[in-house]
Structure formats: C-alpha cells, structure tokens
Amino acid sequence: MPKTVTKWRCCPRSAVARLSISTPLDVRLLDKGLSVGEALAAFNAAHEQAGGVVSFLGKVRPDGGVKALELTHYEPLTQPGMESLAQDALARFELDGALVWHRVGVMTPGEAIVLVAAASRHRRNAFEAADFLMDHLKSAAWFWKREKRADGWHWIEPRDADHADLARWK
C-alpha cells in the first residue's frame, strides 16, 4: 500500500470523545457500525482552530423493500484510493483536516454507510470539500453494492448521475 506524504500525528483524546482522530487526515474502512456523534465530536476537538466544519452522513435508505445492503470492495485499491482522494481535497480546498470513513460488508436500513467531514478556516471551502469528497468517493474507492429484497440479492448498476456529479469538478 503506497504511503501518503502527509505527516500524521495522533491527537490527545478529548474529554467528550473516546475516539482518537488522526490529523490532518483520518481515513478508515470499517467492517462494523460507526458512532457518528462520537466521531464528529472527536473530529471537532481535533480541529479546534478551524472556523467551519461540514459533515455528510449517508445512511442505508429503507426504500423499495430493501432488507439489507452489502458493500464489497478491493482492499488494495480502496484504502489508497480513499487516502489519495482525502489528500487531494486537503490541498485543493486548503483544509485544516478531513475525515473519510466508509463501511463495508452487510448493513441494514438506517445504518450509516459513509461519514465525511471537512474542517477549514472558511465555510465555503469546508462545504465544497465535503461535496467533492462525496462525489469522488465511489470512483476513488471501488465499491460494489448489492441489495437484499424479498426476492433475493440484486447488484446495483452504475448511475449516469454519478458521472454528472464528477463532471462538476473538472
């Protein structure tokens, strides 16, 4: 796995949050549930100097009788892809830091799939960075999804809307 150039340092654990957050980037693939409140509290504590923090949380939607969602990935590409994307966002939007967490494996409706957060001096940069991270995450990270419905598992096809989302940043 290629090493990124950023210097990673470990933050003191916050009094509120039991989580330790790496700065400036904290990129994780998680095979079980994540505690969103704790993660964001720890991220905020790790970036006390940032004027603005934007977060996005994506959850499994209980649409069309979906009982479960499975996310598979190719680990040798996924982790470096996510780290490289986070690096890009850090430089492009002059961030103080970013958090990029993604679930893999089987999830049920209401569970968190993805959490991104961007901390920046300027509000607009934090918004754009979180948006950018979400638009690029799927193509950077090689995730394949399938849904379990009453009649079994179904793979989810690529969407044209994803290409349109990416084109916004070209």
Partner: protein
C-alpha cells in the same frame, strides 16, 4: 507457479467463483481464455477495468502478470 484472478462485484456471479488460480505468466489473451466467454465479453468492454499487483492498468491489454501476482477484474462501481 501461478497467478490469482479475482472476480469482483457482479463479475463474481457471472464467473461462478470468487477467484481462480492459473499458470504464470498471464497476458491479455491468456486472461480472456482463462475466464471463459461470458466474462471475456464483459472484460472486453471499456467500462471494465483490470488491476495487477494492486494497480489499475491504464491499458488493460498490456497485462503481463507473473508468478505470485494478483489480477483483479473490476466492473464499474455501483451507483446510489
């Protein structure tokens, strides 16, 4: 003395298996033969990518995998 072929996402169902060991070395034509006609047809489409040793190939037809290498077949990622 082998190369591991990994079938990812929907290609896993089409191949009927998760991975297959084949003899090294393995090039593009060898791969097409090894995976069977159905997967080969998918692989030939631009939207399916190929990774060797953890790197996506810019030109998948230039594949040359040696002993111990992992070759991953990458269908397009899912929307939603």
């Amino acid at each position: 003395m082998s190369v591991t072929i990994l079938f990812l996402g929907p290609l896993r169902d089409l191949a009927g298996e998760t991975e297959r060991q084949v003899e090294a070395p393995l090039d593009w034509n060898g791969l097409l033969k090894a995976v069977g006609p159905e997967v080969a047809e998918q692989l030939d489409q631009e939207r399916v990518n190929l990774a060797c040793k953890g790197k996506v190939l810019a030109d998948k037809r230039s594949l040359y995998a040696e002993d111990g290498d992992e070759v991953a077949l990458l269908p397009p990622v899912s929307g939603g």
